[in-house]
């Protein structure tokens, strides 16, 4: 999911050059028809006029985007006022994803670094332990999280039962629950790229810095962190981007007050609102946001590589 | 020594050029390799030797020029249609197949039945003394054994030409020496033309009927071992093959196949003239260390006086470095044997450096 355009390796093998277009044809056809064309079509839809019962009228209109940013009164003839309903949903999504990313970094960096400093044989096992949960169904993980955090759930039982708290802590349906859910969903994405970078880190650099009177924590700040920065950036993107558009964690853990982009979009197609052009426009805005982030990071990476 | 030039030409490379983007790996190289010849392409890394080998094998196309195999142009043929097999540098033994299946692979691809391929593969494995390992996987063999499997695999389909891409470079010294002899024997026994690529000049001298010395994409010299060692054409060849004293000299006169020259400091000497050298030229001269010897007093007119700076004992030989009085340093090698005509002098001793007859070789570039 990293935005880098690495085609992998410097291998210039040409063994199968004569067949290359035939070999690529199935993927091209499938992905063009099922991903590229739909995304282009969605872009088109975002510029159409909505029909009352959820369909569209094939007429060019900016009203979907207009609706996103401006309020023109009940009948649409008042002067446009910047309207914050949807912008604030986006802003909340960015905030929630940001906090989840930060939490992942705070936990993920020490974990990745710790694994990278294990004896070589042990490392694969640690990495494996971190990756397993990612492959468990996201829905199941989110439901499990909810089960654990409920007011009468095992966590509160433990806290109250042990006398730490006198009353159960309300976590579900708070912003924090969503952040925790996102953190839980994508934590392995933070650990793996940082681990990959830390594993390649040359520890002689730490020794050289210590030899030149740097303390352990100065070494961390001045030498180690800058060295593994590409891994940290990649990890942050891998957590932030899917968090931004996630649906399950806010829907199951957040409740109605903690709406995020994903739920807003879903509602346009599944729920009662049923405004397809508006849903398409919101998706386009999300896609643009993500692409801008990926582009900037790819640019940074290209610069760093030279 | 047999005359290879009487035999038919196995591989004929004409004006071959290879360009990668803006880099020219091979600059118009022409050479003919005779049937049943052990032919070596020798040069430092990046000289184009491996590129040429891969062009013959069919892994690289020819940018310009032509390559013919027994008179047939092969540039248009894909590798699997060329009766040429390769022993790869890292062997490229198929890790998922047994040794026997590896060796039989080529025959099977040529349409033989599996049992026939196996039978023949067994015979070839016998030839390289590996039949007891035939059911093992390549990863269960030592480096030297893998090397011999690679050789057996390439020989099994009985190619017209066998290409060897630095096949011994991964082996340790002792094993490498043994394999050099084994390869030489195999070549004689099978009668197949071997084209061997190496950057190791000693290996090239040991094994080859003829050697093509290459540098920077160009053919520098083509000849048998003695020829390129004793009559190097240019500074590169003289320097790359063996050790030598490369001394700048000024030519004073050329007459009757002899050239009169002097070194810096005015030391005069006479040597064989070579084409293109005339009076007044400043050229280089190559003098092999083992063809120089030391004495206390001058033996002939052309001895150079100097002082011993260093004695280095390397087992078979003793190398002495002498600084001439007003002139360059010389390296002189004497064999560590009582039969030699040389003696060892202490550091600081005043000596005379003498040349054997014909030891000095003028180089035009």
């Amino acid at each position: 999911m990293a935005g880098g355009a690495s085609t992998g390796g410097s291998s210039q093998s040409e063994t199968f050059a004569p067949a290359r277009y035939w070999l690529l044809l199935p993927s091209w056809v499938t992905l063009t028809i099922l991903v590229l064309a739909p995304v282009s079509m969605m872009m088109g839809y975002s510029f159409l006029t909505k029909e009352f019962r959820g369909g569209v009228i094939w007429e060019f209109s900016l009203s979907a985007y207009d609706q996103f940013f401006f309020d023109r009164g009940l009948f649409g003839d008042d002067p446009p006022v910047l309207q914050w309903t949807y912008i604030s949903i986006f802003w909340r999504s960015i905030w929630q994803a940001g906090v989840a990313t930060l939490m992942s970094l705070v936990i993920g960096f020490p974990t990745a670094y710790f694994i990278a400093t294990r004896p070589e044989k042990e490392r694969a096992i640690w990495v494996f332990l971190v990756t397993i949960p990612y492959w468990v169904n996201l829905l199941i993980r989110t439901v499990s999280m909810k089960f654990l955090l409920r007011d009468q759930g095992p966590l509160n039982d433990l806290l109250v039962g042990s006398g730490l708290l006198s009353e159960p802590l309300t976590i579900v349906n708070t912003n924090f629950a969503v952040q925790l859910g996102l953190f839980y969903s994508y934590l392995p994405f933070m650990v793996l790229p940082i681990y990959a970078a830390a594993e390649r880190y040359n520890f002689a650099l730490s020794e050289a810095a210590a030899d030149l009177y740097a303390t352990r924590w100065t070494v961390l700040r001045r030498i180690l962190l800058p060295s593994v920065k590409p891994g940290i950036v990649a990890g942050c993107i891998l957590v932030f981007v899917p968090s931004l558009g996630s649906f399950l964690a806010p829907d199951l853990l957040g409740g109605a007050k903690n709406f995020m982009i994903g739920s807003l979009i879903e509602e346009q197609f599944k729920g009662n609102a049923g405004n397809w052009p508006f849903g398409a426009a919101a998706s386009m805005i999300l896609l643009t946001l993500v692409m801008v982030i990926l582009l900037i990071s790819a640019r940074q990476q290209a610069k760093g590589g030279k | 020594m047999q005359l290879h030039s009487d035999r038919p030409i196995a591989v004929d490379v004409r004006d071959a050029v290879k360009v990668y983007g803006d880099f020219t790996a091979l600059k118009r190289v022409s050479l003919s390799i005779h049937d049943n010849e052990f032919f070596t392409l020798l040069g430092p890394s990046g000289c184009g030797k491996t590129t040429l080998l891969r062009m013959i094998a069919g892994f690289e196309d020819v940018t310009e020029g032509s390559i013919a195999l027994f008179g047939e142009p092969i540039a248009a043929l894909p590798p699997h249609k060329r009766p040429v097999n390769t022993v790869f540098q890292n062997y490229a033994l198929f890790p998922h197949m047994t040794v026997l299946d590896n060796v039989g692979f080529g025959l099977e691809m040529l349409g033989r039945s599996k049992s026939e391929a196996r039978k023949r593969a067994g015979e070839v494995l016998d030839m390289v003394q590996l039949s007891q390992f035939s059911s093992r996987k390549p990863s269960q063999l030592s480096g030297g054994q893998q090397q011999r499997v690679a050789l057996a695999r390439a020989l099994a389909p009985q190619p017209k030409v066998l290409l060897l891409d630095e096949p011994l470079s991964a082996l340790d010294l002792k094993l490498r020496k043994a394999m050099q002899l084994e390869l030489k024997h195999l070549q004689r026994e099978t009668g197949i033309t071997f084209i061997f690529v190496t950057h190791d000049q000693e290996e090239a001298l040991t094994m080859s009927d003829r050697i093509a010395v290459m540098s920077a994409g160009e053919l520098q010299q083509l000849g048998d071992a003695r020829e390129i060692y004793e009559r190097p054409k240019n500074r590169f060849v003289a320097d790359f093959i063996g050790d030598t004293n490369l001394i700048e000299v000024t030519v004073d006169a050329v007459a009757e196949g002899q050239a009169k020259c002097h070194l810096g400091g005015g030391h005069a000497l006479i040597c064989d003239a070579v084409e293109g050298v005339k009076a007044g030229d400043k050229v280089h001269m190559s003098m092999r260390p083992e063809r120089l010897f030391l004495s206390e007093e001058p033996i002939a007119a052309e001895g150079f006086r100097g002082t011993v700076r260093e004695n280095i004992f390397i087992g078979t030989d003793i190398t002495t470095i002498v600084a001439l009085n007003e002139g360059p340093d010389f390296t002189i090698r004497a064999s560590n044997s009582s039969r030699g005509n040389s003696r060892v002098f202490d550091i600081g001793a005043e000596v005379v450096v003498n040349m054997e007859q014909g030891a000095g070789r003028l180089l035009t570039d």
Binding site: G8, S13, V130, W135, L148, I265 | -
Partner: protein, 269 residues
């Protein structure tokens, strides 16, 4: 206390954080697994170990619904994983063994596209697309969307593996008179097998686990396991859901472990 050697690699508290990290990752899953064996109608109280909720899954009122959903899920995952693995294998061969060509980077970009576009956006786009071309939503639309979405997941382990295989193997095969097709089937393909198996398993799990895209492109009344579970959870977490979750969790863990062991065994060679 004996003087501890000053190991620059280790930072105090990092080990504790790692343990904490693993605890967070596994605690919810363990809790659900444990509670799936709870012999109680309430999900709150613990009333001893029992398999009654597992029995409920197979025989209870909702069992038919979940059986169909499970069958749909597994059939779709099987086909989607197989189709995407074949395409990804071919694509990797072209991209890594096809020399340099104009569409190489573009092809790689196209294959990575489903990883870069947020899943919900892909879901919306696919829904709009099927709607616009007038295809009835159902199992086929889910399958098609899954095939496309799984290609990059299958591609990653396959291409990683292929990068580790030196091109000299195919060259050696062709030098030994194998045609291009033979060099592919007899040499490259067997060597790539661990990557292909990993790719297939990962694609299978991705398809099996997918909720968002499936939720958008499934027709009314068509369910896969995740959408059926989601529908059920909306009414509250019931013990039978925990039993299903535990079983699905088991499938995922077994498959990832398999994939890991295969890639590991091969690396040790």
């Amino acid at each position: 206390m004996a003087m501890k050697s000053y190991d620059l690699r280790q930072y105090p508290s990092f080990k504790a954080i790692t343990i904490f990290c693993l605890f967070i990752l596994y605690a919810p899953l363990l809790v659900v697994t444990v509670y799936s064996f709870n012999d109680s109608v309430s999900i709150t109280n613990w009333e001893g170990v029992s398999l009654r909720w597992y029995a409920e899954v197979f025989t209870g009122a909702e069992s038919e619904k979940f059986k169909i959903a499970a069958r749909n899920s597994f059939v779709i995952a099987l086909i989607a994983a197989s189709a995407s693995t074949v395409m990804a294998t071919f694509a990797a061969t072209a991209i890594l063994r096809g020399g340099r060509f104009k569409l190489r980077t573009a092809s790689f970009g196209l294959i990575s596209l489903p990883l870069m576009v947020p899943e919900i956006v892909t879901a919306v786009a696919t829904l709009i697309f099927f709607n616009a071309i007038g295809v009835d939503r159902g199992l086929i639309t889910i399958l098609l969307a899954h095939i496309a979405f799984c290609i990059p997941f299958a591609y990653l382990p396959i291409s990683a593996r292929m990068q580790g295989i030196e091109a000299t193997y195919e060259q050696a095969a062709m030098d030994l008179y194998a045609t291009r097709a033979k060099a592919f089937t007899r040499v490259l393909l067997p060597l790539m097998m661990p990557g292909i198996i990993s790719g297939w398993l990962l694609a299978f799990i991705v398809s099996l686990d997918d909720f968002i895209i499936t939720n958008f492109v499934k027709g009314a009344g068509v369910e896969t396991l995740p959408t059926a579970i989601f529908g059920s959870v909306k009414q509250g977490i019931k013990p039978n859901i925990m039993a299903i979750s535990t079983m699905l969790l088991g499938v995922s863990v077994v498959m990832v472990t398999l994939s890991w062991l295969i890639s590991r065994r091969d690396n040790n060679k």
